[in-house]
């Protein structure tokens, strides 16, 4: 819980006149659940996209395990151990749940064009080995055994979110970027996802560091180790959930002007 896994220094990015990030700096420590909150348009997703490599920042540095990620392509960052889910579901809608999760194993598979076409020996064995891994570690864990052969496009929204989490996890990441994993879910589904995130973070098997972007304050304050608050592309507060809740700037920018007790859902 000490050395930083991800360091973001002085990040700037503008889209035309909109300055989405204005000098954001963060430090995410190994093993923690780090939440990013802030009003709509505060730059949370943009920040995740920069870490993930979908947007190149205009200024600033992103260090992952001490390595500068400047110019590293998204698929290379995945190989380094950065995985993610998306705010708007970005699944492979024509594939089954199993195949979606199998694609998450892409980096761990060795089959090439020729060995794949022959499908003898090594290729078939590799498929079976990874199928075992997926069944045991992902499908069982995320309680999706009844879904594995369903086509993803036909599933309800809440389950699609869960499949996306499974796919991101199949990568065996060191850092998991969760972009609003609970948006649009009902209470029961929110609690399921929160439980999965805690398991992913705490279980000896995974120990994945998570960056969580989420609007559901109940969940964020309950499961995060530390929280950073963004507003108009600037970081206005950072600290433990209690510290952030006590910060007047946060109240002003995000939770409202009035001094009010934060109430949990539970």
């Amino acid at each position: 819980m000490s050395e930083p896994l991800l360091t973001v220094e002085d990040l700037h990015l503008a889209f035309g006149g909109v300055r989405a990030l204005r000098g954001v700096g963060l430090e995410v420590r190994r093993g923690e659940i780090f939440s990013l909150i802030g009003p709509n348009g505060a730059g949370k997703t943009v920040l995740l996209n920069c870490v993930n490599g979908l947007y190149p920042p205009e200024r600033g540095r992103i260090l992952f395990e001490g390595r500068d990620l400047d110019g590293v392509k998204p698929y290379r960052r995945a190989a380094l151990g950065i995985s993610r889910t998306f705010q708007k579901i970005e699944l492979f809608s024509g594939m089954t749940v199993l195949d979606n999760i199998r694609l998450g194993r892409h980096l761990h598979l060795r089959t090439g064009l020729l060995t794949g076409a022959l499908y003898t020996g090594p290729a078939a064995r590799e498929e079976i080995a990874h199928r075992e891994f997926i069944e045991r570690e992902i499908i069982d864990f995320l309680e999706m055994t009844h879904l594995r052969d369903k086509v993803v496009g036909m599933l309800p929204y809440g389950l699609q979110k869960r499949v996306e989490l499974g796919r991101a996890l199949a990568l065996n990441p060191k850092l998991l970027l969760l972009d609003e994993p609970m948006a649009g879910l009902n209470l029961e589904e929110v609690e399921d996802i929160a439980r999965f995130i805690l398991d992913i973070n705490e279980e000896e098997r995974w120990r994945v560091t998570c960056i969580l972007v989420e609007h559901d304050m109940g969940v964020v304050m309950d499961i995060s180790h530390r929280v950073a608050v963004l507003n108009f592309g600037e970081k206005i507060a950072e600290g433990t959930p209690e510290e952030v809740q006590a910060e007047p700037l946060v109240h002003q920018a995000y939770l409202g002007e009035e001094q009010g007790e934060y109430t949990s859902r539970r």
């Binding site: 993930n52 979908l54 392509k73 998204p74 698929y75 995945a78 190989a79 995985s83 993610r84 998306f86 970005e90 699944l91 492979f92 809608s93 024509g94 594939m95 195949d99 199998r102 694609l103 998450g104 892409h106 980096l107 598979l109 060795r110 089959t111 090439g112 064009l113 060995t115 794949g116 076409a117 022959l118 499908y119 290729a123 078939a124 498929e127 079976i128 199928r131 075992e132 069944e135 052969d149 369903k150 086509v151 036909m154 796919r167 991101a168 990568l171």
Partner: protein, 354 residues
């Protein structure tokens, strides 16, 4: 989505990864293999020649299915790569003294590499713009390079003649329709099997992922550009196989065999058969070829009343093909393969509706 018959439970992962999962399906496929193997025993030469066209259409459309149906890269220049396969094979046999299998292998590889050249723009562009670059492959390869330069090699007018007996496999001359039929049937099976295998491993899944959502694919660690180029290579190799198989039944190779119309034709085949389905390639190829032959049979008696029909048959053919595509897009946009799936589900669930 398919239903498995009740009572079928897989005990191992290997069993659930198999192509054919029940004895019923295995028996069905064995019957199909038996039918294909014994067809020349009871069919006349006309039927065999139609079967050859069906097999050639399947092999041609297989690469298009891979690129368009599975990898989402629209192509309208596939005939160019078939031409590369056919020409390199023919030149290997005629001028370089290579045995036919070796020449065919060289043809496939060069067709694959040539296809990668025209796949390079796909790193940056999608959709309509990509159609333009693949059409450029058609015009540059067939209408420019092959017509103006390659055809002059050896000083033989505009085509290479391949008299029967020129093409031999280990001393066994491929000189009749029946022999071409067997060659084509074996290679079609091999190509279908190879693609079916690829689709259940890493490479095939990466292609489908790129088709469905390229941003998510890249975030999951797929090198999108490399896999697109790999798809172009594999599709080019399949086109090369089609070209190499086709020349023994042609007796001569000329640029006229590989026009834009053929590129469009095989895209139509997968539209009718079903985009993103291996069954679709087979059904589409059978459908368009057989409909065409039936049309020919219909034209002969009709020509007694309207003689101009025989000379205008070519237009009639194109018109019927266009009409078929329009009707399919309107009434069965997922193609014959989807209808086949529905039919199987119906019988699996019978007498219940679901």
């Amino acid at each position: 989505m398919t239903y498995r018959s009740s009572g079928v439970y897989h005990q191992t992962y290997a069993a659930s990864h198999a192509w054919w999962q029940t004895n019923f399906v295995r028996a069905k496929m064995a019957l199909l293999v038996l039918f294909v193997a014994t067809l020349p025993l009871y069919a006349n030469l006309y039927v065999i020649s139609v079967a050859n066209i069906v097999l050639y259409t399947m092999l041609s459309a297989l690469g298009v299915q891979l690129l368009t149906g599975y990898c989402g890269q629209i192509t309208l220049g596939h005939a160019a790569f078939i031409a590369v396969g056919a020409y390199v094979t023919a030149m290997g046999v005629l001028f370089w003294g290579l045995p036919y299998p070796l020449a065919a292998l060289l043809g496939c590889l060069l067709a694959g590499l040539w296809s990668v050249v025209f796949g390079l723009p796909s790193a940056r562009i999608k959709g309509f713009y990509q159609i333009m670059t693949t059409m450029a492959a058609q015009f540059i390869t067939v209408d420019f390079i092959i017509t103006h330069y390659v055809s002059r090699v050896g000083g033989r007018e505009h085509y290479f003649s391949l008299p029967p007996g020129t093409i031999t496999i280990g001393g066994w001359p491929v000189d009749s329709e029946v022999k071409v039929y067997y060659l084509a049937a074996v290679l079609t099976f091999v190509c279908f099997a190879a693609l079916a295998n690829l689709l259940r491993t890493k490479v095939g899944r990466a292609w489908i992922a790129i088709r469905d959502n390229d941003i998510a694919a890249e975030a999951m660690g797929v090198n999108v550009v490399a896999y697109k180029l790999l798809a172009f290579f594999a599709a080019g190799v399949l086109a090369g196989v089609a070209g190499a198989v086709w020349i023994p039944s042609l007796y001569f190779v000329s640029p006229e065999h590989f026009q834009l119309s053929w590129s469009v034709w095989i895209v139509g085949v997968i539209l009718i058969g079903g985009v993103g389905s291996l069954h679709g390639v087979a059904f589409g190829a059978i459908f368009v070829t057989v409909i065409l032959e039936l049309l020919k049979l219909a034209v002969i008696p009709l020509a007694e009343f309207y003689p101009a029909l025989t000379e205008r048959f070519l237009y009639l053919k194109e018109a019927a093909f266009g009409l078929a595509i329009v009707l399919f897009l309107l009434y069965e946009p997922r193609g014959l393969a989807y209808r086949w799936q529905q039919l199987k589900n119906y019988f699996n669930l019978w007498p219940y509706a679901y």
